[in-house]
C-alpha cells in the first residue's frame, strides 16, 4: 500500500476556509470577548477572499483529487466560486451588529433569567462565524464530491452548522429553537435515507466513487433493482436538501424561524451546493439511468413548482412567502437537471448564480423593515412601504421582479436559459408547468409590490432602519448584480459556458 497523494493546491480553497473555521473556534476559546468580534470577522472575510483568490488561480483545473474522492473541474470551480461569493455576502449580513440578530446563549431557555441578563448586557455570541465558515466549506465540498462517502460527509459538514445557526435568533427565541430542532430532526431523517441509498448503490456497483458507479451502470445496463432502490433513496436525501416537494415541509418553518441573515445565507448557499451535488450525480454518476430517474424528477419538479407557488399565495408572512418562493425555484432548477445536456448544465449554473444574488438581496431587505420588537415580517404591515421609503421599496421591487423572472432582471436570464434547455431536450411538460407556475408566482410577487405602493402606510411603528455599511453594501451588490446580469448577461453566460465541463 502506497501513501495516497493529496493535491493541496487544488483543494486549497476548501482547506483555507476549513482552517479559518478552526482558527475561529480557537479565537472563540482563547481570546477575550472584547476582541472576538473583530478577529472573527477579520478571519472569516480574509479566508473567503483568499479562498476565492486561490480558486481564481486554479480555475483551469480539471482533474480528480484526493484519490478520486473529489473532482475539481470547471463545474466545481463555478459552484465553489458562487458559494464563496454568496458566503461572503451572507457573512456581511451576519456580521451586521446594528440589529442584534443573534442571541448570546442559544441554549438558554426562552424568557429565562440568563437570557434576560445576556440581552440587557447587549451580548451577541460570535460562534456564528466559525459555524458559517464550516457551512461554507461543506458547501464547497458538496458539489466537488466524487464519492458517495465524501458526499455524505460534506452534506453533514454543510448541514450541522446550519442546524445550529437556525436556532440563534435573538428575537422570537421559541420559533427559532423550534426551527433548529425541526431542521435537525428532519435533516437526520433524510440523511439516513441518503446513507441507506449509498449502501444499496455500493452493494450493486462495488464502488462508492462516481466513476465506479458510472462504469458499473454501463456494464450492467442499469436494470438492477438494488441500484434503483439506492438511487431512489439517494434522491430523497438530495431532494430534502434542495427542498423539493414532498420533502419541502421544513423550509417555511426554518426560513421563518432562523435569524434572517442566516436565512439569506442558507437560501443561497445551500441551494447552490445541493444543486451542484445533484447535477454531478445525475449528469455524471447515474447519467446512464436517465430513463429511470427522469420521469420521477419531472413529476417532482412539477409538484414542487405547484406547491411552492400555490401555497405562497396564502401566506401572510414575508419570510414564509420567500420560503415558498425558494421551493418553487427548486422546481424550476430541477428542470435544468431533467434536461441532461450541456445547455441544461450551463443553464442550471447560470440560474444558481443569478438566483443567489437576488435571494440574498431580498432577505437583506427583510432585515431592514422593523419596529421596536425586531423585524416586521407580517406582510400587511409592509403596506405603504413605497411611500415611506421609496428607495428600499424600489430595491425590493427589483428583487421581487428578479425572483419573478421579469425581463431586464437576472431572474429572466436564468429562467429563460433553463426553460430553453429543458425544451430543447424534449421535456415539454415540465416547461409548460414551469411557465404556468411562473405566472402564478408573478401574482404573489406583484401583490407585494402593489401592497407596498398602492396601499396607505399604517402608522404602527413599522419603519425602515438603515444599518451600517455592511448591509447596505450587500443590498447594493445584489441589486447591481440583479440588474446588470439582466441587462447585459453575456459575459457571465460566456464565462460559465466555457468553464462548465466535468472532468472525465
Amino acid at each position: 500500500m502506497n501513501a495516497p497523494n493529496i493535491e493541496y493546491g487544488i483543494l486549497g480553497p476548501i482547506l483555507i476556509v476549513l482552517a479559518a473555521a478552526l482558527i475561529g473556534v480557537l479565537i472563540e476559546a482563547f481570546v477575550s470577548r472584547r476582541y472576538r468580534y473583530i478577529l472573527q470577522t477579520g478571519t472569516a472575510f480574509a479566508a473567503v477572499a483568499l479562498a476565492f483568490l486561490q480558486l481564481v488561480l486554479i480555475r483551469q483545473t480539471s482533474s480528480k483529487a484526493a484519490v478520486s474522492s473529489m473532482s475539481i473541474d470547471g463545474v466545481t470551480i463555478v459552484l465553489q466560486g458562487s458559494v464563496l461569493i454568496f458566503g461572503f455576502l451572507g457573512l456581511l449580513l451576519i456580521a451586521e451588529r446594528g440589529f442584534q440578530s443573534f442571541t448570546a446563549q442559544a441554549a438558554a431557555i426562552p424568557g429565562s433569567n440568563e437570557e434576560q441578563k445576556a440581552l440587557v448586557s447587549g451580548l451577541q455570541q460570535t460562534e456564528v462565524f466559525p459555524l458559517t465558515l464550516f457551512a461554507i466549506s461543506g458547501a464547497m465540498l458538496f458539489p466537488a464530491a466524487n464519492d458517495l462517502l465524501t458526499l455524505f460527509v460534506s452534506l453533514e459538514v454543510l448541514s450541522l452548522p446550519l442546524y445550529l445557526m437556525a436556532g440563534l435568533s435573538q428575537r422570537r427565541r421559541l420559533l427559532s429553537q423550534e426551527a433548529a430542532l425541526k431542521y435537525f430532526l428532519l435533516g437526520a431523517f433524510s440523511s439516513a435515507f441518503f446513507l441507506f441509498g449509498s449502501a444499496f448503490i455500493y452493494g450493486q456497483a462495488g464502488s462508492t466513487t462516481f466513476d465506479g458507479i458510472r462504469k458499473s451502470i454501463v456494464e450492467s445496463g442499469g436494470s438492477d433493482q438494488f441500484l434503483l432502490v439506492g438511487l431512489a433513496l439517494l434522491t430523497v436525501g438530495l431532494l430534502f436538501k434542495v427542498s423539493a416537494a414532498p420533502f419541502h415541509a421544513w423550509t417555511p418553518d426554518v426560513y421563518q424561524g432562523s435569524p434572517t441573515p442566516v436565512t439569506a445565507f442558507m437560501a443561497a448557499v445551500t441551494k447552490v451546493a445541493a444543486f451542484g451535488a445533484a447535477i454531478r450525480i445525475y449528469y455524471f454518476a447515474v447519467g446512464g439511468l436517465v430513463w429511470s430517474w427522469r420521469p420521477i424528477l419531472i413529476a417532482i419538479s412539477i409538484v414542487t413548482m405547484a406547491i411552492g407557488t400555490v401555497i405562497a399565495i396564502a401566506q401572510k408572512d414575508i419570510k414564509r412567502v420567500l420560503a415558498y418562493s425558494a421551493i418553487a425555484h427548486s422546481g424550476f432548477l430541477l428542470t435544468g437537471i431533467i434536461a441532461l445536456s450541456k445547455d441544461g448544465l450551463n443553464a442550471t449554473l447560470i440560474y444558481l448564480f443569478t438566483y443567489g444574488f437576488t435571494t440574498i438581496g431580498t432577505f437583506a431587505i427583510v432585515t431592514l423593515v422593523r419596529d421596536s420588537g425586531g423585524e416586521v415580517s407580517d406582510l400587511n404591515r409592509w403596506a405603504g412601504l413605497g411611500k415611506r421609503s421609496p428607495l428600499v421599496a424600489g430595491t425590493f421591487t427589483l428583487f421581487l421582479l428578479g425572483l419573478a423572472g421579469i425581463p431586464l432582471t437576472s431572474g429572466f436570464v436564468g429562467k429563460f436559459a433553463i426553460f430553453t434547455a429543458a425544451y430543447k431536450s424534449g421535456n415539454i411538460s415540465v416547461v409548460v408547468a414551469g411557465v404556468l407556475a411562473s405566472a402564478i408566482a408573478a401574482f404573489f410577487y406583484i401583490r407585494i409590490i402593489v401592497m407596498m405602493y398602492f396601499s396607505d402606510p399604517v402608522e404602527d411603528g413599522t419603519s425602515v432602519v438603515i444599518p451600517s455599511a455592511m448591509t447596505v453594501a450587500t443590498i447594493a451588490i445584489c441589486a447591481v448584480a440583479t440588474l446588470v446580469m439582466g441587462i447585459y448577461p453575456q459575459p457571465v453566460i460566456s464565462a460559465i459556458n466555457s468553464l462548465a465541463f466535468f472532468a472525465g
Partner: protein, 635 residues
C-alpha cells in the same frame, strides 16, 4: 461603400450621457453649476462632431462612413446583435445639427431657465435627449436605432411635462407619449419583419438582403409601411399629428430643439436611412408621399387659425416636416432635398422658436399673439432674428428656405404624370399658405398697435439668449446657399441615399418656371395677410362671428374631435363592454380559478401542520412513492 473604423464615435454619445447621469445623480449640490456642465457636455460633443466631419472630408467620397463596434449586445445562437455605431454622410448631417443647434439652445436655456428651481434637472434631460438622439442617428441597425428612438421619446416626455405641476401639461406629455407608442409599434414591426426576412437588423444587412432579392415585394411594402407608421408617430404626421401642438407645453427651448429642429425630424431620418426599402417598395413609397402631402396642407391650415404663437409655429413645423416626408417619398431624387430642407428648417425654425421664447420672456409668458403687437421697437434683436427666420421659411431668395423648398417643389413637379402635377400644386399651395400664416404671425407680433396688458413690460432679452438667436439667424441666411451651391449636399449624400446614381428624369417644368410659380404663390400669401391684418386693428380676443371653416381650423381641423369620435368614444364603449365581459365572464372564470387556487392554497397550507412527525411522515410517504415509481418506471 467600404467602411473604415473609428474609436472616437462613442464619445459623441458618452459625453452628454454621462453628463446627464452626473447631473441627475449629483443632486442639489450641482444646482449652481449644472447648467454649465450640461452646456459644456453638449459643446464638447459638437467639437467631437466637427473633428469627425474634418476626418470624414479627408477621406474619399466612397469610403467616408466609419463604424465603431462597442460590444456584443445579444448573442443567442445565430442571433447576434452588436452595439455598433455608424457615422456616414447622412448621420454626420444630423450629428452636427443636433450638437450644434443643441449647444446654442443649451446656451439660450441658461438664461431662459435662470429662474426655474429645477434648472439642473432641465439640463440633465436636455443632455439625455442629445445622447439619445445621437444614438438614434448613429446606430448601425434598426435595433440600435430603436434604443435611441425610445430614448428621445422618453426625453421628450420628460421635457414636455417638465412643469408637470400643471395637470394640462402632464396630460400633454402623456398624449405625446401615447401617440409615439402607436408609432413605435410600427418600428418594432419593421424590426421583426427585417429579422424574419433577412435574418439581420443592421442597415447594411437589410440592404444586402434586399439586393440579393430575399424578400417578396409584399414584405418590403409591409416593412415600408411599418417604418412609415413609426415616422408618422415621431414626426407628428397625419394621422398621428395631434400631439405636437400640445407638446408646446414644454419650455420653449425644448420646443425649439426637440419639437422643431431635431426629434420630430427623426421620421425623415428613418425614411431616408431606409431608402433601400422604399426604393423597392413602390406602394409604401406612395403612402409616404400621400402622408407628406396631407400633413403639409393640414399643418398649414391649422397654422392660419392659431393665436398662440407657439402653436402656430408648431403647426408650421408639422407642415414643413410634411414637405420633407413628401420629398423622401419621391425616391432618390428627393432624399437629399429632404435632408437639405431638414437642415435649413432646423436653423430657421429653432431660431423662430427661440424668438418666440424671447418674446414670451419679455411678455410674462404670454403666448396669445392678440396681446402682442408693435414689439419690433422694444425687442429689436428678437425682431431682426425672427424676421430673418420668417424670410427663410416663406422661401424668399436668398434665404435658406428658398433653396430647399424650391428644390422640393421642383422635384414634386418632376415626379411624373398626374402625380407630379398634383404634388406640385399641393406644394405650391402649401408655400402660399405658409407665406400667409407666417406673415400673420409677424404682423400680429411685431407690427401694428400695442395690445399689451398693463402689467407687461416687454424688454429685449439678455445676451445669453440673443446670441444663439443671432447665430441661428445667420444659419437661416447662409445655409441654403452653402448646401445647394453646386449641388454640394446632394453629392455629399449621394453615396448613402443614391447608390445607383439615378439620373434626373424628364423635367416637367424648367427650374426657373417653378421658382417663378413659387414666388408668385408666396406673393399671394403675403398680400392676403397684409390686406387682412395690417390695415385693421386686431381685436384682443378672437372674433367669434367667423365662418365654420375658421372654427374648424381653430379646433386643429377637428383632429382631437376625430380622435375622440373614432378612437376614444368607441374605445371607451369597447372598454365598457369589455369591462362588463371581463367582470362577468372573464373575472367569473378568473376569480373562480383564483378562488379555487386560494382554496387549494388554504387546503394545502393545512398540510403544513408544524409538527415534525407529520413532516417526517410526508418524507416517508414521498420516499415510498419514489421507490415505487422508480421501480415501476424501470422494471
Amino acid at each position: 461603400m467600404s467602411l473604415g473604423t473609428s474609436d472616437t464615435l462613442v464619445y459623441l454619445i458618452a459625453i452628454p450621457l454621462f453628463s446627464s447621469a452626473f447631473l441627475l445623480l449629483g443632486g442639489r449640490a450641482l444646482d449652481r453649476v449644472g447648467h454649465l456642465i450640461g452646456t459644456a457636455a453638449s459643446a464638447s460633443s459638437f467639437v467631437v462632431a466637427l473633428i469627425e466631419l474634418n476626418k470624414m472630408l479627408g477621406r474619399d467620397a466612397e469610403s467616408r462612413g466609419v463604424t465603431q463596434h462597442l460590444f456584443t449586445w445579444i448573442n443567442v445562437g445565430s442571433f447576434q446583435i452588436d452595439a455598433t455605431l455608424l457615422l456616414d454622410q447622412l448621420s454626420i448631417c444630423f450629428v452636427l445639427l443636433i450638437t450644434g443647434v443643441g449647444t446654442l439652445i443649451h446656451i439660450y436655456s441658461i438664461s431662459y431657465m435662470a429662474h426655474d428651481i429645477d434648472r439642473r434637472r432641465f439640463f440633465a434631460f436636455l443632455n439625455l435627449f442629445i445622447a439619445a438622439m445621437l444614438l438614434l442617428v448613429l446606430g448601425n441597425s434598426y435595433l440600435n436605432l430603436y434604443v435611441g428612438w425610445e430614448g428621445v421619446g422618453l426625453a421628450s416626455y420628460l421635457l414636455i411635462g417638465f412643469w408637470n405641476q400643471k395637470p394640462t401639461y402632464a396630460t400633454a406629455a402623456k398624449k405625446a407619449f401615447v401617440a409615439n407608442r402607436v408609432g413605435d409599434v410600427g418600428l418594432s414591426l419593421a424590426v421583426m419583419i427585417a429579422f424574419v426576412q433577412f435574418g439581420a437588423v443592421t442597415f447594411d444587412g437589410v440592404a444586402k438582403g434586399i439586393e440579393a432579392g430575399s424578400a417578396s415585394s409584399t414584405a418590403l411594402n409591409a416593412m415600408g409601411a411599418a417604418i412609415l407608421l413609426a415616422a408618422v408617430g415621431k414626426s407628428a404626421q397625419f394621422p398621428l399629428q395631434a400631439w405636437l401642438g400640445d407638446a408646446m407645453a414644454g419650455p420653449t427651448p425644448v420646443s425649439a430643439l426637440i419639437h422643431a429642429a431635431t426629434m420630430v425630424t427623426a421620421g425623415v431620418y428613418l425614411i431616408s436611412r431606409s431608402n433601400f426599402v422604399f426604393d423597392n417598395a413602390p406602394t409604401a413609397q406612395l403612402l409616404v408621399v400621400i402622408v407628406g402631402a396631407v400633413t403639409l396642407l393640414f399643418g398649414a391650415v391649422i397654422g392660419m387659425a392659431k393665436d398662440d404663437i407657439k402653436k402656430a409655429l408648431a403647426a408650421s413645423t408639422m407642415s414643413q416636416i410634411g414637405y420633407m416626408i413628401l420629398a423622401t417619398g419621391l425616391g432618390p431624387a428627393g432624399y437629399a432635398f429632404a435632408m437639405m430642407h431638414l437642415l435649413t428648417h432646423g436653423f430657421f425654425k429653432a431660431g423662430m422658436f427661440l424668438g418666440a421664447g424671447s418674446v414670451m420672456h419679455g411678455m410674462n409668458d404670454e403666448v396669445d399673439m392678440r396681446k402682442y403687437g408693435a414689439l419690433r421697437k422694444v425687442m429689436p434683436i428678437t425682431f431682426a432674428t425672427f424676421g430673418l427666420g420668417y424670410l427663410a421659411i416663406i422661401g424668399i431668395p436668398p434665404f435658406a428656405g428658398f433653396y430647399s423648398k424650391d428644390k422640393i417643389i421642383e422635384t414634386a413637379f418632376n415626379a411624373g404624370g398626374s402625380k407630379g402635377i398634383i404634388l406640385g400644386c399641393v406644394t405650391l399651395l402649401g408655400a402660399a399658405i405658409t407665406a400667409f400664416y407666417m406673415t400673420r404671425v409677424m404682423l400680429m407680433t411685431f407690427f401694428g398697435t400695442k395690445r399689451w396688458d398693463s402689467a407687461a413690460h416687454p424688454h429685449e432679452s439678455p445676451w445669453l439668449m440673443t446670441v444663439p438667436m443671432i447665430l441661428l439667424s445667420i444659419g437661416s441666411i447662409t445655409t441654403g446657399f452653402i448646401f445647394s451651391n453646386g449641388d454640394r449636399l446632394k453629392n455629399f449624400l449621394a453615396p448613402v441615399v443614391d447608390k445607383h446614381h439615378h439620373e434626373h428624369e424628364t423635367e416637367l417644368l424648367a427650374p426657373i418656371v417653378v421658382t417663378g410659380l413659387a414666388m408668385f404663390a408666396v406673393a399671394i400669401g403675403i398680400s392676403i395677410a397684409l390686406a387682412k391684418y395690417s390695415r385693421k386693428t386686431i381685436p384682443a380676443s378672437a372674433p367669434t362671428d367667423v365662418t365654420v371653416w375658421t372654427k374648424i381650423a381653430r379646433r386643429d381641423l377637428l383632429q382631437d374631435d376625430f380622435n375622440e369620435t373614432v378612437f376614444m368614444r368607441p374605445g371607451q364603449s369597447l372598454t365598457r363592454v369589455l369591462a362588463f365581459l371581463d367582470k362577468r365572464v372573464v373575472d367569473g372564470a378568473v376569480s373562480g380559478v383564483g378562488a379555487m387556487t386560494l382554496r387549494l392554497a388554504g387546503d394545502l397550507r393545512k398540510t403544513q401542520t408544524g409538527y415534525v412527525r407529520s413532516y417526517a411522515l410526508l418524507i416517508l410517504l414521498g420516499t415510498v412513492a419514489i421507490l415505487a415509481a422508480i421501480l415501476v418506471v424501470t422494471v
